[in-house]
């Protein structure tokens, strides 16, 4: 890339909260594994993007690249118009802390901490609010998700659906512009699954942030405004 092209690439990318340009990820080895092959996409505020595809098609791998947990072998990821490929590990962690919220198939709450403490954790790490404000915000997030009476509970004392909602509250803690979810309903019963789907849809509908969710479930994908279908690490369908 020439200096000028590089500079152009770093310029703010319109209103996109997230942009991927020809992102590819190869695991080097005796037999190189192509996880993602040249994916480009854009996400604006208010978007609800579903990523579908068969098992092993590279959905999770793509999500890690979009969430700066992994670095593309080629191509760039822009978060809020900033080229993340230029950033070192600490700076990428900072971007995750301030701008991104992750939800996984399993709630992945820290087992030693109560629901409230789990939700407070990212805010305490960011350190922008006072302890009291952090606690109040965590309580509000949990109450909004219908967990007002669960704040003192440890993850193991909650149902899967409840724990997943705590995880959503945690992802929202620092008011990120982008929520990245990897099969967030994959491990839930139908009722809880529908509940979580609606919550994510609402988050996107508020308009100031975007949700990108990997899912197997067709009814979930249908709720999303946009859908990308991956096959073998490539976008096969973009609707």
């Amino acid at each position: 890339m020439t200096g000028a092209a590089k500079k152009a690439a770093q310029e703010p990318q319109g209103d996109f909260l997230l942009e991927a340009r020809e992102v590819a990820r190869v695991l080097e080895g005796d037999v190189p594994v192509h996880l993602v092959r040249g994916v480009s996409l854009t996400v604006k505020a208010g978007d609800f993007l579903a990523i579908t595809g068969p098992s092993g098609s590279g959905k999770s791998s793509l999500l890690y690249l979009l969430g700066l947990l992994d670095t593309p072998s080629t191509g760039e990821v822009f978060i809020g118009g900033r080229d993340a490929s230029m950033l070192n590990d600490d700076a990428r962690a900072r971007v995750r802390l301030e701008n991104l919220g992750f939800i996984f198939q399993f709630h992945f709450l820290l087992p030693e901490f109560t629901a409230l403490e789990n939700v407070m954790m990212p805010m305490r790490r960011l350190g922008r609010l006072s302890d009291r404000e952090i606690k109040a915000r965590a309580e509000k997030l949990l109450t909004d998700l219908g967990l007002g009476d669960q704040v003192k509970k440890l993850p193991r004392q909650m149902s899967g659906g409840q724990a997943q909602r705590v995880a959503i509250a945690r992802a929202l803690a620092n008011d990120p512009m982008l929520i990245l979810a990897d099969e967030p309903t994959g491990n839930l019963d139908t009722a809880s699954s529908r509940n979580v789907q609606m919550i994510l849809k609402d988050i996107a509908a508020q308009g100031n942030r975007a949700v990108v969710a990997v899912t197997h479930e067709t009814d979930f994908a249908e709720k999303a405004g946009r859908r990308i279908h991956l096959v073998d690490g490539r976008i096969a369908e973009n609707a």
């Binding site: 947990l69 590990d89 971007v95 198939q105 790490r125």
Partner: protein
């Protein structure tokens, strides 16, 4: 940092049993370290105190370290002169001009000095001959220069000042020879002169040999008995600051020429023995703490292994590598601090118990308490060593934790 410490604490509390076991290692290590170290330092200090108090800080002998320079050499310092078969001049024994030297020394602030003429004498009593070390001293100066007054059991130095024909002997000798206060004893010098002394005071230092062989009399009597009037064969010096003895003795020797030996020089071999003893004991107690450190390494490694997923989550949340490293370093530090907080009091309890023990060391006639050093440096040393060991032990696992890549963990989990 408060958040990281909070997470660290929770991790430890979630594994109470393991944490307590590894804590126990540190507790025992600290207690052991403290006790042994204070015992060693205590006995060393005790020993040094005896050494410094009970002997002169500097002794000036009536001899030279090297043969005196020949006048020819002094005259032509740069000339190539070789003198062969030079026999050192036979001099009358004794420090020449000791009065001037004494006057000079006594005029120096912080310096006390006195002349001594020692001689062997034979005590013939009840048909037996016993060899005694006669310390001829200036009676009024004995107190300044020796600690013998502290060990008096009957009478005192004043009695010697009052009675110039008096003698101060050890309880050991009195017991052995069935002597009493006020008894007259007859001593013979090597020149055959015989004199009678009256026992005016008795001491007991607890060192059996000393108490049986040493005796103090007026220097004039020894001078008369040995036919060396106005002679002293050594000058003994006490300094206000015993640690200055080495430098002072060097300067003194350079000035007066006579061999001046500081207590440090006189006990050089003892010092190196002490040094080796310290080396051995610190190696041993350190080994205890190193074993304890392995315990800490073990539990923190275990926590890190078990927590790979949580580390991945924390990192995906936006925690940086150093945050993660700190979480686990803090765990080591917490164990170290908790280890000190319990280990130091335990060590103090052990020290108190040991301090009550009385025993009779060989060569001493009285039982003594275990000498223990209760000074702050002991506690600081034991505490900081344990803390450092704990933090160091957690360093490797903490670094490993920091290097965990979230994707590696997440890929395996989803």
């Amino acid at each position: 940092m408060r958040l990281l410490a909070f997470i660290a604490l929770k991790h430890l509390l979630a594994r109470k049993r393991q944490s307590i076991v590894s804590l126990l290692g540190i507790v025992i290590g600290v207690a052991f370290f403290l006790t042994i170290s204070s015992l060693m330092q205590g006995s060393e200090k005790d020993f040094m105190k005896r050494l410094v108090d009970n002997s002169p800080h500097i002794t000036v002998y009536d001899e030279y370290r090297t043969p005196r320079k020949q006048p020819l050499q002094t005259l032509h310092p740069d000339a190539v002169i070789e003198l062969r078969h030079v026999t050192p001049e036979t001099e009358t024994r004794g420090v020449r001009g000791y009065r001037q030297i004494l006057d000079q020394l006594q005029a120096t602030p912080g310096v006390r000095a006195s002349a001594v003429l020692t001689a062997q004498a034979i005590l013939s009593y009840a048909g037996r001959d016993i060899s005694l070390n006669l310390n001829g001293m200036i009676p009024s100066e004995i107190r300044d220069i020796t600690t013998i007054e502290d060990h008096m059991t009957q009478g005192g130095v004043d009695d010697l000042i009052a009675n110039r024909d008096g003698i101060i002997v050890g309880e050991g000798l009195m017991k052995k020879e069935n002597l009493r206060m006020g008894d007259n004893i007859t001593l013979a010098s090597s020149t055959g002169q015989v004199r009678t002394f009256k026992i005016v005071a008795a001491f007991r230092t607890g060192r059996a040999n000393y108490d049986e062989t040493e005796a103090f009399v007026d220097i004039k009597r020894v001078q008369a008995m040995t036919g060396r009037s106005n002679r002293a064969n050594s000058i003994i010096i006490k300094l206000a600051d015993p640690n200055a003895a080495l430098a002072f003795s060097r300067a003194l020797e350079a000035r007066i020429g006579y061999k001046s030996v500081s207590w440090q020089e006189a006990s050089e071999d003892l010092m190196s023995t002490l040094f080796i003893r310290n080396l051995i004991m610190y190696s041993v107690v350190s080994a205890v703490l190193i074993v304890a450190a392995f315990g800490i390494y073990n539990i923190i490694s275990t926590v890190v292994m078990e927590k790979h997923r949580d580390i991945a989550i924390l990192k995906s949340m936006g925690f940086q590598a150093l945050d993660i490293q700190h979480i686990f370093l803090v765990q080591g530090a917490l164990l170290g601090i908790a280890g000190c907080l319990t280990g130091l009091p335990l060590g103090m309890a052990l020290m108190t118990a040991l301090g009550r023990v009385r025993f009779k060391p060989p060569g001493l006639t009285d039982p003594v308490n275990m000498p223990l050093d209760w000074s702050a440096p002991q506690f600081i040393l034991a505490g900081s060593f344990a803390f450092a060991a704990a933090v160091l032990a957690s360093y490797l696992p903490a670094r490993k934790a920091a290097q965990v890549q979230p994707v590696d963990i997440l890929r395996g989990n989803t």
